[in-house]
């Protein structure tokens, strides 16, 4: 059984990896790259609760939630990629040796329920922090912000070293090129604040020092959700009379789910990894299907005070966050991805997985996780950093991979008409305006067929008395869609000669209607 579970973990992890690396341009794929995110019951419940609407993309998450009622936390033991990573890294840590019968503390495990309650309370009040703790989001974020940039960097370094050895040069570059043809970045992906994402991820791994699957036991709100709904599951760890009370199973259980006496299982904790079946020296343990017998299992041991406390805490946090101050300048300079829902709905739906950021890094490379520019409530939601990258005119990929529909799925033709914002020249920095010399890099790159940047040629008198014909660029407001490539490519050092703001921005309602800022009363938030 243990082998079957390990094979399943490995296969699902490979699938996760495959889907992660598949999320690149041109993204013509059979399986959606956000499959795992859509399959997360926590993301599903939280986004549905927050948007008070049925989110069709997360059906898979609801299916898994429903399956967990009879099957318990099988997702944790057999599927979850973060769980698999933890099972792998937990081996690195030496923990104090315990003797048989010395059970690890179970004190902390109610934390995850508290967290879950707080998250759901927040979701209900439209302050979404499920994504910060959803394990699939956690691992997708870490891969996007750290693993991929790191891989690229390592590959680059490797190639530049090998490329210097003359007889290896050709083979090295052509191998690298082959890799890039199948989607490896041709441009170093970089994610703002990746350091923080790395540290938080490492913390989750290092907690394994205290106990195996520390995160899953004590912190994971998804684990809490599945444990809660699956506590009366129909799969039972059954101990036969062959048991000699040796206690190995309790000692080895990664979830500390075996109660004293070894016959009773905490169904809300047990992830059905089946390790105990295999390690029992007497072969006394088996898994059976059937109605739960009260003598062999115990469900969630919820502490009512703690639940009420976290309900209050979640509510308070939600209330406090929703009155947070968001600076007009910082928020208007950070554009949302094309097709993003109206801000309040966007914040409700987005699970901060950064899948959009990941795929964008293979095309226009503008999307970055926000820090505090969009307010605390917008932390790690995607915003465009147009100086770093731009929104590629012919691209619609972020909407294709957003698991919760926070970014509307649009055809390329429709996306080309979505106004993300508007460009403005800063005449004190734009070369023709401040130096009276031609430049026009922005005009050249403006992807609008009729050109949203146009030129007016006029003679100017230079300080030397000489007259010169200079082409002065200006923006045709009605044509500009705020794609930002003019900002990316502006050759002026540092602060560019052109910038974009959210002026004229268009967003979408959950029903797929395009709306202008002025048309939505509760838009700003």
């Amino acid at each position: 059984m243990r082998t079957a579970r390990r094979v399943s973990q490995l296969l699902f992890f490979l699938l996760f990896l495959y889907l992660f690396f598949e999320a690149v341009y041109p993204y013509e794929v059979a399986l959606p790259a956000d499959l795992f995110l859509r399959a997360s019951p926590l993301a599903a419940v939280a986004s549905i609760l927050a948007s008070r609407a049925f989110v069709s993309t997360v059906v898979l998450g609801l299916v898994i939630l429903a399956l967990s009622i009879p099957l318990g936390r099988f997702f944790c033991g057999w599927i979850c990629p973060l769980g698999t990573v933890l099972d792998a890294t937990d081996r690195w840590f030496k923990r104090p040796r315990r003797k048989v019968g010395q059970r690890e503390s179970t004190r902390l495990r109610s934390w995850k329920y508290a967290l879950l309650v707080a998250i759901l309370a927040g979701s209900f009040l439209s302050v979404q922090f499920a994504g910060y703790f959803d394990p699939i989001s956690v691992i997708t974020r870490a891969f996007t912000a750290v693993l991929l940039p790191l891989l690229t960097k390592v590959a680059d370094t490797f190639v530049s070293l090998l490329g210097r050895v003359s007889f290896l040069e050709n083979i090295t570059f052509s191998a690298y090129n082959r890799l890039q043809e199948v989607g490896f970045p041709t441009q170093q992906p970089l994610v703002r604040g990746s350091f923080l994402i790395l540290v938080l991820f490492l913390v989750i791994l290092v907690l394994g020092k205290w106990s195996r699957r520390f995160w899953c036991r004590n912190l994971c709100p998804l684990g809490a959700l599945l444990g809660f709904v699956g506590q009366h599951r129909l799969t039972h760890r059954t101990v036969s009379t062959a048991c000699t009370d040796c206690g190995v199973c309790q000692l080895m259980c990664r979830m500390n789910a075996i109660e004293d006496g070894y016959r009773i299982t905490r169904t809300s904790e047990c992830i059905e990894c089946m390790q105990c079946v295999d390690i029992c020296p007497e072969g006394a343990i088996s898994y059976r299907l059937g109605l739960p017998a009260s003598s062999s299992h115990k469900g969630v041991d919820l502490d009512r005070r703690r639940v009420l406390g976290s309900l209050a805490g979640g509510t308070l946090a939600a209330a406090a966050l929703s009155v947070g101050f968001v600076g007009r300048e910082s928020s208007s300079s950070k554009l949302r991805p094309p097709g993003a829902l109206v801000e309040s709905e966007f914040l409700d739906r987005c699970v901060r997985c950064l899948e959009c950021v990941r795929i964008c890094s293979s095309t226009g490379a503008c999307l970055q996780p926000a820090l505090l520019e969009r307010g605390v409530a917008g932390f790690w939601t995607p915003v465009a950093d147009m100086r770093h990258g731009y929104c590629e005119y012919n691209c619609n990929l972020c909407g294709q991979v957003c698991p919760t529909g926070a970014i509307t799925r649009l055809s390329v033709e429709d996306k080309q008409k979505v106004v993300m914002g508007t460009a403005y020249f800063d005449r004190s920095r734009c070369i023709p305006w401040y130096r009276n010399e031609d430049c026009l890099v922005c005009e050249e790159h403006c992807p609008i067929p009729e050109k949203a940047i146009r030129l007016e040629q006029r003679p100017v008198q230079l300080p030397s008395g000489e007259t010169r014909l200079v082409k002065f660029p200006y923006v045709v407001e009605d044509l500009c869609i705020g794609c930002g490539i003019c900002v990316t490519k502006c050759p002026v050092e540092g602060q560019p000669g052109i910038f974009v703001t959210t002026a004229r921005e268009e967003r979408f309602t959950a029903r797929g209607e395009k709306v202008r800022k002025e048309e939505v009363p509760a838009y700003g938030r």
């Binding site: 530049s160 041709t186 430049c439 050249e444 403006c446 009729e450 030129l455 490519k489 050759p491």
Partner: protein, 303 residues
């Protein structure tokens, strides 16, 4: 080119010669076995046009020798489809590659330092697929392969990073497309060289004429082949709207890069003197701006 067409073309030229005043007659009257220095092929499909134009210059073996490593440099700058005429026509590129191999090239390399994301441009321009099919090694530009080159004849630029593959190739064949460009007015061959340099390319736009000529003193294509199958008449260099595309069905090949550009300028109603970078290039001895002074052959494939 089919023999009949060829004969017809010669006959046509002879007739024209009889009717035209002396100076322009000179361009039609070159005997067939004297290779031209500038050839214009019209009214054919991309591959035929390339064949005819290169043939008229004396065949690819005039430029490529057995065992040569050849760089064929198209414009793959934009995430646009062939019909949008923002990149060199993929079949033109493929045919040039084929001719190089026929002439005995050891390896033909195709790449461009793109403006939009490389993967997107390579794929959507159709060039990656077409050139590979013709046997070329198509690769993305790697940052580590730029080498700083001292520009001895430079006026504005004293050194600039150039792509190693171009510096080391035996032969460079420049295969630009002719497009409108708001700053340079027109982008053809000389500007296409911006695709083999690294560094801050946006900075080249300022004092463009002098800088682009500086860059062109470093790399010298033996053959420039201007793709005029479709040209982009307005809103270049990216275009995007079919309104701005003209189906011209022409290819110009020349040993003289300045003349090739000057010829292409006539499609846009521009005289060579209208392009300050061509004037600058001519002044600094890169080529002949008055293309009429060259041995010209014009071929009409009549389809």
């Amino acid at each position: 080119m089919r023999r009949r067409d060829f004969l017809r073309a010669i006959a046509g030229s002879a007739l024209a010669a009889a009717l035209l005043p002396e100076e322009s007659a000179a361009r039609f009257l070159r005997p067939a076995d004297v290779p031209a220095d500038l050839a214009v092929a019209r009214n054919g499909e991309p591959a035929q046009l390339v064949q005819a134009a290169v043939e008229a210059l004396g065949g690819m073996s005039r430029f490529v020798s057995r065992g040569d490593i050849v760089v064929v440099k198209p414009n793959i700058g934009w995430d646009r489809l062939p019909e949008q005429a923002a990149n060199t026509n993929p079949e033109v590129v493929a045919e040039v590659v084929r001719l190089c191999y026929q002439a005995g090239a050891k390896k033909v390399l195709v790449f461009d330092h793109t403006s939009n994301r490389a993967q997107r441009c390579y794929l959507r321009s159709g060039i990656q697929a077409a050139a590979k099919e013709a046997g070329a090694e198509v690769s993305f530009v790697h940052e580590q392969k730029f080498r700083n080159v001292e520009i001895r004849e430079g006026v504005e630029l004293k050194s600039w990073p150039f792509y190693k593959d171009v510096l080391e190739a035996d032969v460079l064949i420049n295969v630009p497309i002719a497009k409108h460009h708001s700053m340079a007015r027109l982008t053809v061959g000389l500007k296409n060289i911006m695709g083999v340099i690294g560094g801050d390319r946006g900075a080249i736009h300022n004092h463009f004429a002098r800088k682009i000529v500086d860059l062109n003193t470093v790399v010298k294509p033996k053959l420039t082949l201007v793709d005029g199958y479709r040209i982009l008449r307005a809103n270049g260099p990216q275009g995007g709207s079919p309104r701005d595309v003209q189906l011209l069905k022409t290819v110009v090949a020349s040993t003289d890069r300045v003349a090739a550009d000057a010829y292409a300028a006539t499609w846009f109603g521009l005289g060579p003197q209208d392009l300050d970078y061509l004037v600058e290039a001519h002044r600094r001895g890169l080529g002949e701006i008055d293309f009429r002074k060259l041995k010209i052959r014009e071929i009409d494939l009549g389809s």
